[in-house]
């Protein structure tokens, strides 16, 4: 073992370079440090429990009678932020070409297999995945399109619809996300997907591997030797063995050639393949660095001379491939690309890998610009980008010191090449996440039972778990490489899409933990005539503040109530009593008291299981009373559904009102 390999047994490395300083974005950590963090209780025990249940019951993905390749069996849905923001409607309209196309596919047999979660049905701040699903009758088992479609496209930035919601939903469903800054990009992406799926786009049936190996850099040494090389080898075997459609060509660029100029050709240039896989450092920046929002997640290339030679100087733009390197003349239309790199897909506001600190690493959560640029390109966009939110670790492909594990990547790439929708292909990644969560839980259990803790084992599991969770799809999860041809040379483009309307984005909604994003009006208000602040409107301001406080209080209460209703929604009880002395009947602590006799009861569980106690008189069922009871059951079911809808709508409406007041 070389000295470098020996070092790798003591530390764990993430693929991120701090481009502000030229140093690693996070100092490599010792295994003991990581294990100390891993030993703390997980933040969301409910989610961990669910992952364990999914792993143990093998109930991932869509119900077994639905083919993941057939949207009329799986369903397809789109989730917008809840509320009445006109921008959301404009975005929906800009996406109409894609939505119409998906509707045609998903609703071919059953209209409800196509769903738009918008307005009152959209995502509202703070709702958990389970609460969202319960609203529509879905439970923890496999995705059943009778309730909620399997393929779900989230439309919104990660402040408005957080990454955590996406991760949680992704365990069971095939989830992707898009977010652009202009309506034109939404429309362009919509048209690109439709064109590709209608066979109007052809790409050479080629998978290109692009893996850097920067000098003196252990992270890219690992990723090039333990990820890129074996992955290329395994996929080549599969293609030559006839497991895939004929004509697939696998190309691995020598690491010396993995320069920025080469990526220009691979991402929309003359050498653009159908499928691209990159493994490199992701450029990361200190919070407050003006390049952070534009360039975080850009792909570091071989142009960077490595840590020793470059020392600790700010990284140059020549060293990495960023969104603006995809020129207006580029044409990434129809391609799918997978970026193994820190922040390749996005950045959370806070450090995701620490339970002990809540260090802010960005002013707000955001998607990386490179995937946005690739998908929303004016000449036609890429179909999807798979990338990592936060740091990508070598644990993705390495475990037990120096053993590699690339099967998850191989399986995912194989399915994409085999024309599976990308969301279905990603189930291997999601399955890995659930499996690791289960292993951690079992490990912790065995330690409690007396097993000697092994820090290396625990640290490895924990890092793998968080790492596996954070692979996300930027794009529609139902896209697939249908248009790839063995040797297509054409460079298709789309007609420019004209969308009337201003450049706009949905504003981030306010939650307790999210700072208020100033709206345009608020910004204007700051510069409005000072007279407005000089008592001229003092009564107006007082009333406004009073109403804001009341709205906030009501918002909090509505959240609590909805949360309570949904958590209590595991069962619905309807009880029917009779009494000879009605005046004595009272309700206390959730029960009827007084001179009453319980005659019938129905308990309906969330999974549909029902317990019924039938009234009997003289040894026979009291049909008259039973009919009365049944009527109450029907009314209770209708009432609960309406109540959840109303509370959800109230949340969305109140949040919107608070934004403008």
């Amino acid at each position: 073992m070389s000295s470098m390999d020996d070092e790798l047994t003591k530390i764990s490395a993430s693929n991120g370079i701090n481009a502000s300083t030229g140093d690693y974005f996070f100092e490599p950590e010792t295994i003991d440090e990581i294990a100390a963090r891993a030993a703390r209780p997980p933040l969301d025990q409910e989610h961990i429990d669910e992952l364990v249940e999914h792993h143990q019951s093998k109930s991932f993905a869509v119900v077994p009678w639905a083919s993941p390749k057939n949207l009329s069996e799986t369903g397809w849905g789109v989730i917008f932020p809840a509320g009445d923001d006109p921008t959301i409607r404009k975005i929906r309209d800009a996406l109409s070409e894609l939505l119409d196309h998906r509707k045609e596919q998903a609703a071919a047999n059953k209209p409800h297999y196509y769903r738009e979660f918008i307005g009152d049905d959209g995502y509202y701040p703070g709702i958990t995945k389970s609460a969202f699903l319960q609203k529509y009758g879905a439970t923890y088992s496999s995705a059943d399109p009778e309730n909620v479609p399997y393929y779900l496209l989230i439309v919104g930035d990660p402040e408005t619809i957080p990454f955590s919601f996406q991760y949680q939903l992704d365990v069971q469903y095939a989830v992707g996300r898009i977010y652009f800054e202009t309506l034109e990009e939404y429309a362009s992406y919509a048209r690109s997907v439709v064109m590709a799926e209608k066979g109007m786009v052809t790409r050479p049936r080629r998978l290109s591997f692009f893996g850097t190996r920067n000098n003196d850099d252990p992270s890219t040494l690992l990723s090039s030797t333990m990820l890129i090389s074996p992955l290329a080898e395994e996929i080549t075997k599969l293609t030559s063995g006839g497991a895939l459609a004929a004509g697939w060509q696998v190309e691995t660029l020598p690491y010396e050639e993995t320069k920025k100029e080469r990526l220009v050709r691979l991402m929309g240039g003359a050498d653009t393949p159908a499928l691209l896989f990159t493994a490199s450092h992701g450029a990361a920046f200190n919070q407050g660095d003006p390049r952070q929002l534009k360039h975080q997640g850009a792909l570091m290339c071989q142009d960077w001379p490595g840590p020793k030679e470059w020392r600790k100087k700010p990284i140059l733009t020549d060293h990495y491939f960023a969104a603006e390197d995809v020129s207006d003349d580029a044409n990434p239309l129809g391609m799918i690309t997978f970026h193994f790199a820190c922040f390749g897909a996005g950045t959370p506001r806070r450090d995701d890998f620490s339970y002990t600190s809540s260090r802010e690493i960005a002013p707000h959560a955001f998607l990386s610009k490179l995937p946005q640029r690739l998908l929303g390109h004016p000449k036609g966009g890429a179909l999807a980008v798979i990338g990592h939110v936060e740091r990508a670790w070598d644990y993705s492909f390495k475990f037990d010191k120096t053993k590699r594990q690339t099967q998850t990547f191989t399986s995912t790439l194989f399915q994409i090449m085999d024309q599976h929708p990308i969301g279905a292909a990603m189930e291997f990644m999601n399955g890995r996440y659930a499996e690791l969560s289960t292993e951690i839980t079992e490990y912790e259990h065995s330690v409690k039972q007396g097993k000697q803790p092994d820090n290396y084992e625990l640290a490895g599991l924990w890092m793998q778990n968080n790492d596996a969770r954070s692979y996300v799809i930027i794009g529609d999860p139902a896209v697939k490489l249908v248009g790839s041809e063995p040797s297509a040379a054409a460079r298709p483009t789309i007609e420019p899409v004209t969308v009337t309307g201003i450049v706009t984005t949905p504003s981030a909604v306010t939650t307790e933990s999210t700072p208020v994003q100033p709206t345009d009006k608020e910004e204007e208000e700051k510069t409005a005539p000072e007279a407005a602040d000089f008592g001229l409107f003092s009564s107006l301001k007082e009333s406004k503040e009073g109403i804001q406080n009341s709205l906030n209080e009501l918002l909090d209460k509505t959240k609590q109530t909805l949360s309570r209703v949904l958590s209590d929604a595991t069962s619905l009880d309807v009880l029917t009593y009779v009494s000879d002395e009605m005046e004595t009947v009272e309700y206390e602590n959730g029960k009827l008291k007084g001179a009453t006799q319980l005659r019938a009861m129905t308990r309906i569980s969330a999974d549909g299981d029902t317990i019924v106690c039938v009234p009997r008189t003289g040894g026979r069922m009291d049909t008259e009373l039973w009919q009365v009871h049944k009527d109450m059951v029907d009314q209770a079911l209708t009432h609960r559904t309406e109540m959840i809808k109303t509370l959800s709508a109230a949340l969305a409406g109140l949040v919107d009102a608070l934004k403008v007041l």
Partner: protein, 263 residues
């Protein structure tokens, strides 16, 4: 039929709500008499409950028709409320297309809204000292009070009672988890049971419409704020929305229109 002697009394008791809604949806009456009756009938009505009480006449057909009319009225109210966003969208589109703030050819709620907005905008432009007058602080207080009371109501369960010909026939408790607990008087027949079922529906629908009204005021606030060009006048969106929603709820033209459409 002699309404004077046989009209039902739909009583509602909840000090949090009745404070600002003495005639809830035009169906439920709340007054001092209700308060005393509520406490007199049983000791079960505490601050934890909203009491909905229907005292129905002894004539079964009459009782049925009163309840049916009440439910119908609520359904219309709900439909009217749901029309608020689209009406405001339509108004905005018209204004975007360059239509003036002319009010002569509009429905009354829109006409009143536009008049309100036009005055606000004009005064804002002139940096008038009178702008604050546009904000009726009473409306702010009422709305704020309503929000506060609605918030409190989340802690309460609905207690629904039906009396038929002065005989108490059923009581139901419905908490916020949606569980139903009902006590029926012994020997009840199907048609009498139907009366309580309808009373229950009426009470729960009223509660829902009341919440929907708040939601629609909130949504209308957002939409009206888009009609206001000056940030100074933005806070006026809420009282404008409050007035507008109430005007719509009381708009006889629209209600008549919906009724006709249904027939």
């Amino acid at each position: 039929m002699n309404p004077g002697s046989s009209s039902p009394v739909f009583q509602f008791y909840d000090t949090d709500i009745t404070y600002s809604q003495s005639d809830l949806m035009g169906i439920w009456k709340s007054d001092e008499q209700v308060e005393s009756v509520s406490y007199d009938i049983s000791g079960s009505q505490t601050d934890d409950s909203q009491v909905w009480r229907a005292n129905l006449p002894a004539d079964l057909n009459q009782a049925r028709s009163y309840l049916t009319a009440g439910i119908k009225k609520l359904e219309i109210s709900r439909q009217v409320l749901e029309s608020v966003p689209s009406r405001l969208d339509q108004l905005r589109e018209e204004l975007d297309r360059g239509r003036s703030f002319g009010i002569s050819d509009r429905l009354r709620p829109e006409a009143e809204l536009l008049e309100f907005l036009a005055n606000s905008e004009a005064q804002a432009t002139a940096v008038s000292f009178g702008l604050a007058d546009q904000f009726d602080s009473k409306i702010g207080d009422i709305f704020s009070g309503l929000l506060h009371r609605l918030r409190n109501s989340f802690n309460k369960y609905a207690w629904v009672e039906t009396s038929f010909g002065e005989r108490l026939i059923a009581r139901t408790a419905v908490d916020w988890s949606g569980d139903f607990h009902t006590a029926w008087t012994s020997g009840l027949d199907q048609s009498e049971a139907e009366l309580h079922s309808k009373t229950l529906r009426l009470a729960l629908k009223t509660r829902d419409v009341l919440a929907r009204m708040i939601i629609m005021i909130a949504r209308a606030t957002v939409k009206i704020s888009l009609l206001l060009s000056s940030p100074i006048t933005a806070p006026l969106a809420l009282p404008a929305a409050y007035k507008y929603v109430h005007a719509i709820m009381a708009d006889p033209e629209l209600i008549a229109f919906i009724k006709n459409e249904e027939h």
